[in-house]
Amino acid sequence: MTAYAAEARKVTKRYGSFTALDKVDITVKRGAVYGLVGDNGAGKTTFLKLLSGHIYADEGELTLFGCHSRKDMEEQRRRTGAVIEAPGFYPQISVEKNLEYYRILKGVPGKRAVDEVLELVGLADRKKKRCRDLSLGMKQRLGLAIALIGEPELLILDEPINGLDPSGIIEIRNLLQRLSREKNITIILSSHILTELEQLATVYGFLTDGKLAEQITAEEIKEKCSDYIEINVSEPERYTAVLEKKFHTESYKVLPDKTIHIVNPMMDIGAYSRLASENRMDISRLERRQVTLEEYYMDLKNGGRKYA
């Protein structure tokens, strides 16, 4: 059994003269939550469409659960569920009938499967409603339910929280976390909302202009972007001198606006505050911060020097 749910080796996809994906290498381990990050047109949806079989690669090799021939990939897709762009359903029939249609189509035994996914995505009380009457958020949940029919081992989700209200976002996030944790489902998802992705993904693939800029685990990002204390004091030069003398640390940076970043702080935040007051310096700002995914992504887009 292969350790990877999905792999892309030197995959290229062109639309006419436009190269949507350019020799992309992506590996998604089983059980991972893989977050695809990138601007509009970076190639995220193209990659997800390739995995789902909607489009074909011009070059390179795609693999699903270790299989890469077209016929085998189609076979392996029975183990996947996908929501690409807008969720697909028949608007004139009810939620329940849509799911029953997909259950039969996928060959999933037992009508209970429909009730189970309805329960899972929080649509059980709306199962008799016609799909065209659903709100955007409910449609998004229905799309997820359609993808989840038949207990897939790999979920491919393109912007799954688009259109959801704040409580919907939390519910879907919790659901995805639960699916990953309890059922060990591999999830590949793209999102523009990096703060959300940050709470879900265990691995990131950063795409810029169709190229994979970096593939990195959440832990590696954490290691690379260690947390820091940001402090604004009245006399930064004197403060850093005291800092070196008292705390024997030289891992700090003084930014042009005189803000001091103390990287990998050894003491708790109060110690740095006391250090200023004991030496009669005024503090206008003091906070402990960690580099966010947004900051990391923006840095990567700008050449990736800061957290390299």
């Binding site: 079989g53 909607h54 074909y56 076979e75 996908a82 697909g88 249609y101 997909y102 039969i104 189509l105």
Partner: protein
């Protein structure tokens, strides 16, 4: 493929679309017979209040079965791109060829069911409301439908292939009409000047059922009444099934879902 067909069967039977379409078509035909009946009751020496006149409308225009077949396919699958349902089917790992063949099977089965219902109302209302002999027009109609069936299947298959190829239904409809009607009619008339076109046009289903059949008040001349004529109808239809089927398989294999 069986699951796909079963799934589509579930969806069609649980949606209103086909019931409404069959209902409207049946209603219009009953209305036609009703108009003939009322005219017959109110106009002295009205010559058309006969069952044969009513049924001749179909016998002389069996191409209507081709158009109906395309309409059924378009009603069933025309919106699948807009609704985004095709991408789910593909993402579920159902091979594109199976999807294409499944669609053809489902469209043909649905069209046959609709036709059966419509014919019951059409023939039933004609029988109940109109006079004149019933056996001959009924026999001609049954024979004609049988003879046109392979070509009607081909028309449905072409429709499914074009609906797969083109993003917009209207484009598929125009191309379908061009292939089924415009090109055969052009070939037919060009055939008066060019011998090879005359031969080709003679094997095109639209021309067979338009120009080689006559059904009117003075009698019938139906190609399918002779064994060789019936064979021509069936061979032309079978060739259409093979050609359009192969084209459809090719298109469905290559076509990407945008």
């Amino acid at each position: 493929m069986l699951n796909y067909i079963k799934g589509e069967g579930y969806r069609i039977t649980h949606s209103r679309g086909m019931y409404v379409a069959a209902g409207i078509a049946s209603g219009l035909l009953v209305l036609m017979n009703l108009v003939l009946y009322i005219s017959n009751q109110n106009i002295t020496n009205f010559p058309y209040g006969l069952m044969s006149f009513s049924l001749n409308n179909l016998i002389a225009n069996l191409q209507i079965l081709f158009i109906s077949g395309f309409v059924v396919a378009a009603l069933l699958f025309g919106d699948e791109r807009k609704n985004g349902t095709l991408k789910n089917v593909v993402a579920y790992g159902i091979p594109r060829i199976h999807i294409f063949i499944g669609k053809c099977v489902v469209s043909i089965a649905t069209a046959l069911c609709c036709m059966a219902v419509i014919l019951v109302f059409y023939v039933g209302s004609a029988y109940l409301l109109l006079g004149g002999p019933a056996a001959e027009p009924l026999g001609k109609m049954a024979g004609g439908i049988g003879a046109a069936m392979p070509s009607a299947f081909a028309a449905v298959i072409l429709g499914v292939a074009l609906l797969t190829l083109f993003e917009k239904d209207v484009v598929a409809a125009i191309v379908w009409f061009a292939v089924m009607n415009v090109i055969p009619v052009i070939c037919y008339y060009a055939g008066f000047k060019v011998e090879i076109l005359r031969k080709i046009a003679g094997w095109m289903p639209w021309n067979i059922f338009r120009f080689e059949v006559s059904a009117n008040m003075s009698g019938y001349h139906c190609l399918w009444d002779t064994p060789s004529g019936l064979a021509k109808c069936i061979i032309a239809g079978a060739a259409g099934i093979l050609i359009f089927g192969a084209a459809g398989i090719l298109v469905s294999r290559k076509k990407e879902i945008g």
